[in-house]
């Protein structure tokens, strides 16, 4: 890495954090077909931060997460996790995909989904012990779904489904949590439950990165933000970079005045 990159635009020299960063991305490009979904994106997640990834539809937010996790193969670029390769650090990363990405009529109960978070630990044939089951139940209780353990997943509301996905990630007992639109289409109670859990993770020293679509709640929920529209627009603490100019660049002037008003009120 050239020393130039360590000097930010404000001229302050910052130490290269990528060795300690839970997730450091360099020059990542992913393309479906001929046009890139993300192009040469750099990102250095601050340890212990809560980072929002924001950007318009089709900006490559989900793709960025998937490429960071090795779910889609990048055309170019590097991903470093906790200072080393992704393959050696899988157990320390928990992923919460978009709720709509699975078939909720799949024959499985709520608690079984949470137990899936432990498959890695259990191995192919490892017996599920009572203590494992208790841990799964504890994860469900943390997201307020303790009473639903035996319910078929198809009989849950959207918000409840999202909470079950979060409980599955909690069961992994990871250090880095990557969430794809955890607040999309959920009820107010779920949103509150999820943000409480995420803030609890941060308090325990974990790192949380979430794709987020509601700009108004960014300052309230997150301390760091990554703004992306195929290319990276801005990255840093919410107070430093989450401003109207950066948002207009990210959204290409597509933000209405109403949205800007709401944002400035939220930031005030």
């Amino acid at each position: 890495m050239s020393p130039l990159e360590l000097i930010a635009e404000d001229g302050v020299v910052r130490p290269d954090m990528s060795d300690q960063s839970p997730l450091a991305i360099r020059g990542l490009t992913v393309s479906y077909g001929q046009s890139p979904a993300i192009f040469s994106v750099d990102m250095t997640v601050v340890p212990g931060s809560m980072t929002a990834i924001v950007g318009p539809n089709g900006a490559g937010k989900s793709t960025l997460l998937k490429a960071a996790l090795g779910i889609v193969r990048p055309l170019a670029g590097q991903v470093t996790v906790f200072g080393t390769t992704l393959a050696t650090q899988r157990a320390r990363i928990a992923y919460v995909p978009q709720r709509a990405s699975v078939d909720w009529d799949f024959p499985t109960r709520v608690v079984d989904v949470v137990v899936m978070g432990m498959y890695r630990e259990l191995g192919l044939l490892g017996r599920l012990r009572g203590s494992d089951r208790a841990r799964a139940m504890a994860c469900l209780q943390r997201v307020g779904m303790g009473d639903f353990a035996d319910r078929q997943i198809g009989r849950l509301s959207g918000g409840q489904q999202q909470r079950v996905f979060l409980a599955r990630a909690l069961a992994q007992d990871a250090d880095l949590y990557l969430l794809d639109e955890p607040f999309a289409g959920v009820d107010a109670a779920t949103e509150k439950a999820i943000i409480t859990v995420l803030k609890g993770l941060k308090d325990d020293g974990k790192t949380v990165v979430a794709v987020h679509h509601d700009l108004a709640t960014v300052p309230e929920y997150f301390d760091h933000v990554m703004m992306i529209n195929v290319r990276k627009v801005a990255e840093g603490s919410v107070s430093d970079v989450f401003n109207e100019a950066a948002l207009q660049t990210t959204y290409g002037g597509r933000l209405g005045t109403q949205q800007i008003d709401r944002l400035s009120r939220a930031r005030a």
Partner: protein
Amino acid sequence: MLWDALTFQLGYNATLVAIGAALLGLSAGATGTFLFLRKRALVSDAISHATLPGVGLAFILMVAFGGEGRNLPGLLLGSAVSAGLGLLGVSWLTRHTRLGEDAAIGAILSVFFGAGIVLLTVIQTMGAGRQAGLEDFLLGSTAGMLYSDAVLITVGGALVLALVGLLHRPMVLVAFDADYAASAGVNTARVDIAIMGLVMAITVVGLKVVGLILIIALLIIPAVAARFWTNSAGAVALVAGAIGGVSGYLGSAISASAPGLPTGPIIVLTAFTIFVGSLLLAPERGVMAAILRHFAFQRRVHVRQGLLAIAQGQAIYEQLTIRLLVRAGLARPDGVATDLGRSRAAKALRDEARWEVVRRHEAFSGTAALYDGLREIETVLTPDQVAEVDMLLGAPESTA
């Protein structure tokens, strides 16, 4: 006669066939479940049709090298190779062209099957081919089942079942949520290959008994039928195995009990009968259960609407509503409410008002989602919360 067949008293060969078919059904049902859960049931079509050219080529090769063309292990090896090629073809077409998997399956299936038929026709004209009996691989034939064939099915089926047991966790994980599985380090492409490879193994093993066309049914029907009875992936596999096993055993027994009944088709029809029974009778997902649920719901709606009409002093015109109210002792046959009906009506009206409050106030947003116009408020709120709602409602006169 059927009883004799069911109790293995129709002789050595019928017994052999029944046991072999039951084992085949068991392993096919359990294995096919994962293909079904992965939503790739059609892949079994491509796999099974792609076995045919391999059977033909293996026969020709074995005869050419002076061997016995009908040697079953040799024929099955050939079928496995060509099914494997077909599988590679499907996944290559899906991954590297713009064709969807359905189109790729259609292309591979018809090309391989066509090639196989051509080869069988060629074999017919060969000197050694007259009694080859390779057409049996299309629809299956158990008449000439040898002890060694039964051993092959048993060993092959048991091996596949053991692998299914070993791999069930990654297979369920990939079937439910492939992206999450990949994030946990599971090689989803390899798991998909494993699922299809196991299905291929079952197809090859089952070619002789039910034939390449009907093995598809034995892979998919048990899983689809089992899905009606349980909500857990592991249980679907177990129930599907049981349904497949019972179908194989019952079907072969039925076909042995009368002359001229083809074994493979009877096995498949037995499985299909179990499927239809499941479709109709399953307690939660079945058609009957759905109809009963619908009528129960309709009755609740009518009673509720009737009570609200009474509370607001409106006349009830619908005969069904009146009948239901009368049956519940809430109204007289002429539509006039009883005392019980009037008090329940007042309660219904009050509940409506309470629900209004619940839906207006953010503090109850979780509860508000449960509103369906039918629920009694006490079923979703604690007495304290109901009191709180009543306070918000203003007039705290108690009607409940």
